[in-house]
C-alpha cells in the first residue's frame, strides 16, 4: 500500500489548505440561557459547546480557598463525535482528564480569580464532533464562554496547533494529519500581553526547524485572536442594542 501523501507537489494539504492556513472558524456566544456564559465553536469539522457557571458557592468546603476562586473544568466527548471509533461512555478516560486540567490551568492564570475569594468557577466542555485540534479548539471555545459569563480576564486565551510533516511545518491539523505521527505542538498564548500559557510538544522536530514551527503556531494564535475578538465585539454590540433603556 502506498504511503499517504500529506502534501501535494503544489503545496496543498489533504483538505486543500496551504501550510499556513487555519480552518474556517464559526462561533456564537450566549447560546444557553441557563448557564452564566456559553459558547458554540466550530473549527473546520470540530464542533464544541461550552457552558460556564460561576462564580458561585463552593460545592465542598474542603476545597475552598480563602484568597481566590477555584476553577473547575470538565471535558467530555460525545459518543458519536469521533469518525473512527466509538468512545466508551465513561467519563474517566485519561485524555479527557488531561485536556480538562490543561483548560483549568490556563484559566486559573488568566481569569482574575483573586477577585472572587471563597467561590468556584465551573467550565464544562462538550465535544459534539471531533476532527483534530481538540485541545486548541476547547481552549478557544472556553475563552468565548468565559467572556460571555462576564468574568474579568487579564487577556484572551488563544490556542493553535502546528506540526511538521514531510519537511514542511503545517498549521492547525485535522484528524488525518494528527494521526500522521508527526510532531504535535500546541501553543496557547495571551495575545495582548504576549505571554505563553502553555507549550506542549509531542514527538520530535529537528532543532533548526523548531523555531519555524513555533513561529507558525504563534501566527495561527494571532489569526484566531483576531477572529475571536471580532465575535466578542459583534456579540457585545448585539447585547447593547437589545438592551432596554432603563430610563424610559
Amino acid at each position: 500500500m502506498s504511503k499517504l501523501s500529506y502534501i501535494t507537489p503544489e503545496g496543498l494539504r489533504i483538505d486543500g489548505r496551504r501550510n499556513n492556513e487555519i480552518r474556517r472558524l464559526n462561533m456564537k456566544m450566549g447560546i444557553f440561557n441557563r448557564a452564566d456564559g456559553s459558547a458554540y465553536y466550530e473549527q473546520g469539522n470540530t464542533k464544541i459547546t461550552v457552558a460556564v457557571y460561576g462564580p458561585r458557592e463552593v460545592a465542598s468546603n474542603q476545597r475552598m480557598l480563602h484568597d481566590r476562586a477555584i476553577v473547575n473544568c470538565e471535558y467530555s466527548q460525545a459518543a458519536f463525535s469521533s469518525a473512527t471509533d466509538r468512545k466508551p461512555t465513561r467519563k474517566s478516560d485519561k485524555q479527557s482528564y488531561e485536556i480538562a486540567s490543561l483548560i483549568k490551568q490556563a484559566f486559573e492564570s488568566t481569569i482574575q480569580i483573586t477577585l472572587f475569594p471563597r467561590s468556584q468557577i465551573d467550565i464544562y466542555v462538550q465535544v459534539l464532533q471531533a476532527d483534530g485540534g481538540l485541545k486548541a479548539a476547547a481552549l478557544n471555545a472556553a475563552t468565548l464562554a468565559v467572556i460571555d459569563a462576564g468574568l474579568p480576564m487579564r487577556d484572551f486565551i488563544c490556542a493553535c496547533s502546528a506540526t511538521f510533516i514531510e519537511g514542511v511545518p503545517l498549521l492547525d491539523m485535522n484528524q488525518m494529519e494528527e494521526r500522521s505521527g508527526g510532531a504535535d505542538l500546541l501553543l496557547s498564548i495571551q495575545p495582548q500581553l504576549g505571554g505563553v500559557i502553555s507549550l506542549n510538544m509531542e514527538s520530535k522536530v529537528p532543532q533548526d526547524m523548531f523555531e519555524s514551527v513555533l513561529e507558525l503556531a504563534n501566527l495561527g494564535c494571532m489569526k484566531i485572536f483576531a477572529l475571536l475578538q471580532t465575535e466578542v465585539k459583534r456579540h457585545s454590540a448585539d447585547l447593547l442594542s437589545n438592551q432596554i433603556n432603563p430610563k424610559s
Binding site: R34, A79, F80
Partner: protein, 278 residues
C-alpha cells in the same frame, strides 16, 4: 414583583393561573416553539438536534457491526439491536452532577429504550449482509445541552428523527466469512414508518399545564406524560403525583396529545427532507 416570585413562587404562579395565563405569556395549553434539524453531525451515522423552547437535545446514532448471537432466535423484532442512552451532564443545568448519572436520566433512559422497541422497523433492514449473519447494532446517544423542562418530549423527538436520518453502508462478507467490509458508496436510508407523538403536562393545583418549563415542573404536584404513535395507539402513559387525577382531565390531555400528531409528523419529515438536500 421579582422578590415575590422568589419568596413565594407557588403563590406567584397561582395568581397567573387564575387568569389562565403563565408568567412567560403562554396560555395553559400552549406548547413552546419546537424546532427539529437532522443530519448536522457528520461523524455520526444519523443525528438530530431538537429544541423545545430553551430545552435542547442533541442526538447521534452510531452503527456497529456484530455477528448474530446464537441465542437470538428468529423473532421478527429488532429488540436489543437499538440501544439508547441519554446523558444529562452539568452542562445542561447546575442541578446535575457529573460523577453519577441522575435518577432523572436513568428513568428517561429506560422509557426511551422501551419506546424504541415499539417502532416499526423491519428487522431485515438491520441485516449487515444479505442473509443476516451479521447485524447492525445502533447506539443512540442523546445529550441534553440545555435543560428547561419537558426533556422527555425533546428526547423522543430527537431519538426518532436521528433514527430516521440513519444511513447505512452496504455490507459485504467475503465468501469464507473471515472478512467483513463496508461499501461506503452505496448508502441506504433506514426506513421507519412509525412516529411517536409525545406530550407532557404538569399539574399545579387543579390546573394542567402543557409542555411545562423547568420552573413549572419544580412547582407541580403531579406530572403526566403521554406518547401516541401515528395510528393513535397509546404507547406510554405516565402519571405521578400526590393528588388523584380525575378522568376528565386525563381525557383532555389525551385529546391534546392527539392534536399534536400532525405538527410533530411535519416537523420530523421536514427535517429529514432538509437533510437530504444537503
Amino acid at each position: 414583583m421579582e422578590a415575590f416570585q422568589k419568596i413565594h413562587p407557588l403563590e406567584f404562579y397561582r395568581k397567573f393561573l387564575e387568569r389562565s395565563v403563565r408568567p412567560d405569556g403562554r396560555s395553559l395549553q400552549r406548547i413552546r416553539n419546537t424546532t427539529v434539524s437532522a443530519g448536522s453531525i457528520l461523524t455520526a451515522d444519523g443525528s438530530s438536534f431538537v429544541k423545545i423552547g430553551n430545552t435542547s437535545v442533541i442526538c447521534g446514532v452510531r452503527a456497529e457491526i456484530a455477528e448474530k448471537q446464537q441465542d437470538q432466535t428468529t423473532s421478527n423484532t429488532c429488540k436489543s439491536q437499538i440501544i439508547v442512552n441519554i446523558e444529562m451532564g452539568p452542562i445542561c443545568s447546575n442541578i446535575f452532577s457529573s460523577t453519577k448519572p441522575s435518577e432523572k436520566a436513568m428513568s428517561l433512559c429506560t422509557q426511551l429504550n422501551q419506546l424504541v422497541q415499539l417502532l416499526d422497523i423491519d428487522p431485515k433492514q438491520l441485516y449487515f449482509d444479505v442473509d443476516g449473519k451479521y447485524l447492525w447494532y445502533l447506539y443512540v446517544d442523546l445529550y441534553c445541552l440545555d435543560y428547561n423542562g419537558n426533556i422527555l418530549d425533546a428526547a423522543i423527538i430527537a431519538m426518532l428523527s436521528a433514527l430516521k436520518n440513519v444511513k447505512l453502508p452496504k455490507g459485504v462478507v467475503s465468501d469464507d466469512g473471515s472478512e467483513v467490509y463496508k461499501e461506503e458508496d452505496t448508502m441506504r436510508t433506514l426506513i421507519i414508518n412509525s412516529y411517536l407523538i409525545p406530550l407532557s403536562f404538569a399539574v399545579i393545583d387543579e390546573y394542567v399545564l402543557s409542555d411545562p418549563s423547568l420552573e413549572e415542573e419544580k412547582l407541580s404536584n403531579g406530572s403526566i406524560s403521554i406518547v401516541y404513535n401515528e395510528k393513535r395507539e397509546l404507547c406510554l402513559q405516565l402519571y405521578s403525583g400526590i393528588t388523584p387525577l380525575d378522568e376528565k382531565t386525563l381525557q383532555q390531555c389525551l385529546d391534546q396529545t392527539k392534536q399534536r400528531t400532525q405538527e410533530i409528523k411535519d416537523l420530523i419529515d421536514q427535517s429529514i427532507n432538509d437533510s437530504k438536500d444537503k
